[in-house]
Amino acid sequence: MEGKKNIFRSRAFKHGSNTLLRTIIFTAILVFIVLIVQNHPWRVDLTESKAFTLTDQSQKILKSIKIPINIKAFFQEATRDKIKAQDLLDTYKYYCPNLKYEFIDPDRHPEVAKQYDIKTYGTVVVEGAGKKQTITVLNEENLTNALMKLIQTKKKTIYFVTGHGEADINAFDKNGYSMVRRELEKENYQVKTLDLLHTAQIPKDASVVIINGPKKSLMKPEIETLRKYIESGGKLVVMLDPFHDGGLKKFLKDYGIGIRDDIVIDKLSRVFGGSYLMPVVTKYTTHKITNNFNIATFFPESRSLTKVEKTRPGINVMLIALTSSGAWAETDIKTLREKNAASFDPNQDQKGPVCLAMMSEITPAEKTKEKTSNKENGDKVKSGKKDKPKTRGQLVVFGDSDFANNAYFGLSGNGDLFLNVINYLAQEENLITIERPTKKGQPLILTSTQSRLVFLIPLVFVPLFVILCGLAVFRVRRKQR
C-alpha cells in the first residue's frame, strides 16, 4: 500500500513539476519578448495624410526628452474630440516613452479641473521638470512647443533699470520693490538690475525689462538702447509717476502712448477710504492680461495715458486698465497743491474714464514693409520660411510706479495685476511652427440606387450566398449517404 502510494506520488509529482517548470520557463520567455518589443516599438502608418506620424521637427524634440512628462487631458468622455486627442497623444507616446498621459473628465472630477484651473473642455496640461504648460487647442504645433518650453532649463530673467532714482528692488522700506523681487523669484524668475549707461545693448537673456518710476531723465544713448531692444522684439514695462516722465515722452509717443503732465483725481476712491489722488480701477478691458481678472486695483498718485492716433504702421495700442467715468486728469497742479482742491475743467482736463495702463505691440519696422510687399506678390508663405519669424516687441506703460511698491503691492489686486503683466510679457511665443497638410474632406452623397446597393450587398446578397452554399453542401452530403 505504502509502495503503491509512493509510485503514484512520484509519477504525478514528476510529471506535474515538469509541466509546471516548463510553463514557468515558457511564460518567462514570452514576458521577456514582450518587454523587448515594448521598449523597441516600431510602427507603420498606412494613412494617406500620415495622420499618425509626427513631423521630423517634433520627432527630433521628442527624442531629446529624457525627463518624465505627465500630460493631463481634460476632455468629456466619448466625444470625437477625445478620440482625436487620444490618437495624437498615443502618437507622441510612441516617439517618447517617457511621456505619460491620462484623460480626466472635468465634469466627473471637478476638483482636479479646479486645481488646474480648467475653463474649457479640451484643455491639456503638460507637466515636467517642475514646470507646467497649458494648451487650450490640442494639436501637434502647440504640444511640441509646450514640450520644448518644459525642457528648456534656463530661468527667465527680469531686468530692472537703475541709475535714475528708480525704486530699489533690494530696499525693504515702503517705497522699495523688495516685495516685487520676492514674488517674481517665487514665480521662478531671475531678477537683476541693469545700468543702461554701462551696456551698449540689453542683455540677450532679458525676458522683460522694467523701468519703475525714474526721477531723473534717461540719457539719449540709453533711450536709443531701449528703442533698439523693443524694435527687435523686446518686452518693456515703463512705470512713470506724475511729473517725472524720465525723458521718455517722445519715446512713448512713437509707440502710440501719449503722456501729459497731469494727475488723476478720482472722487469714487474717497468712498473706498482713500484719498482723491488714489484712483481705483474696477473695470478692465478684455485683454489676455486681464482675462478673468476682476479685482480692484489702486494707483496712488497716477498720471493719465492717452492713445496717440498718428503712429507709424505696425503699432497696435490697447488699453488695459481704466478708472471710473467719475475720475478726471487734473492739470491745474498749483491749485491742487496750494489749496488742496480740484475741480474738473472741461477745457483743460481730460474727462474720465482715464486710462492708467496701456499696452503697445510693435511689429518691427522692416518686417512690416517686407510683409506688405510680399502680400502684393501673393507670396506670403515663402517669406515666412526664409527669414526667422521676428517676435513682436511689447511695451506696457503704467501711469504710476507706486502701486507695486512694498506699501501697495499687497493691496487688493495690485500685485496680481503686476505679476499678470510680467507673466504675459515673459511668456514665449511659439518657438516653432508646424504646418501639416490640410486634409481634404471627401463627402459622399449617395444616389438612391447606390444607397439601395449599400443595403442589398451586405444584408441580402452575401447572406443569400451563405444560405445557398449551405443548402448545396447538404444536398451533396445527402446524396453521398
Partner: protein
Amino acid sequence: MTGFRPVYRKEIYSFFASPTFYVVALIFLIISGYFFFSAVSYYNILSFQGMQNPMWREQLNPTEMVLRPFFMDISVIMLLVCPLLTMRVLAEEKKSSTSELLFTYPLTDTGVLLGKFFATLSVLFIIILGTLPSLIYFGTLTHLRWQIVGAGYLGLALLAGAFISLGVLASSLTENQIIAAVLAFGALLLFWVIGWSRAFAGPTLARFINYISIINHFESFAKGVIDIRDVVYYIIFSTFFLFITLRFLESQRWRG
C-alpha cells in the same frame, strides 16, 4: 509536427459540413452588414450637412468615419460568435471518446492542436472575408485607402487568433460544448472589459491592465497603423494559451 496537415484538412472539412458554420456565418454577416449599412448611411447624412459647413467638410474622411468604426464593430461580433466556433474543437472529441484515439495516432500533440487552431482560424477568417464585397462596392463610391483595409483585416485575423486560442483552451477543459462556449465567452469578455477598470487602478497596475486588455491593441489596426507591439501582443496571447492547452492535454495522459 506530424499531424498538422491531416488534422487541418479534416477540421476544415467537418466545419463546412456542419450546419453550425452556416448559421454562425449567416448571423455574423447579417449583423456586420447592418453595421456597415448604418455606418455608410450616417456618413451620407454627415456629408449632406457638410455641404453647408466647410469646417465640417474637412473632417469628412471615409477611412476615419466608416472603416474605423466598422472594424471596431466587427471585433464585437467576433467576440460573440467565436466561442460558438471553438466550443466543439476538443470537447466533441472528448465526448465521443475519439480524443484517446486521436492522441494515440502517430501524430504529435502540437501538430494536432495547431491543425485544429489554424483550421478554426481559417474558417473564421473566411466568414470575416464575407464583409469584403460591401467594402469593395464602397471603394467604388469613394476613395478608399486599401492599405488601411488590409491593416484592418490583419488586425481582425490576429484578434481572431487570440479569441480562438482562448476558446480552444476552454474546449479542452470540458466535454460539454455549452460549458466550453460559456467559459470561452466569459474569459474573452473579461479580457475585453478589464481595460475599463484602469481608471481606478494605480499607475503601475493601470499600465499592466492596459497591456492585458485585448481590444486596446486592436484600435491601432482599425485606424490604419500597424504597430509591432500590438502584433506581438496577439501572437504572444495566442501562443500562451495554446501552450497551456498543450500542457493540459498532456497532463490528462499522466493523470490517467
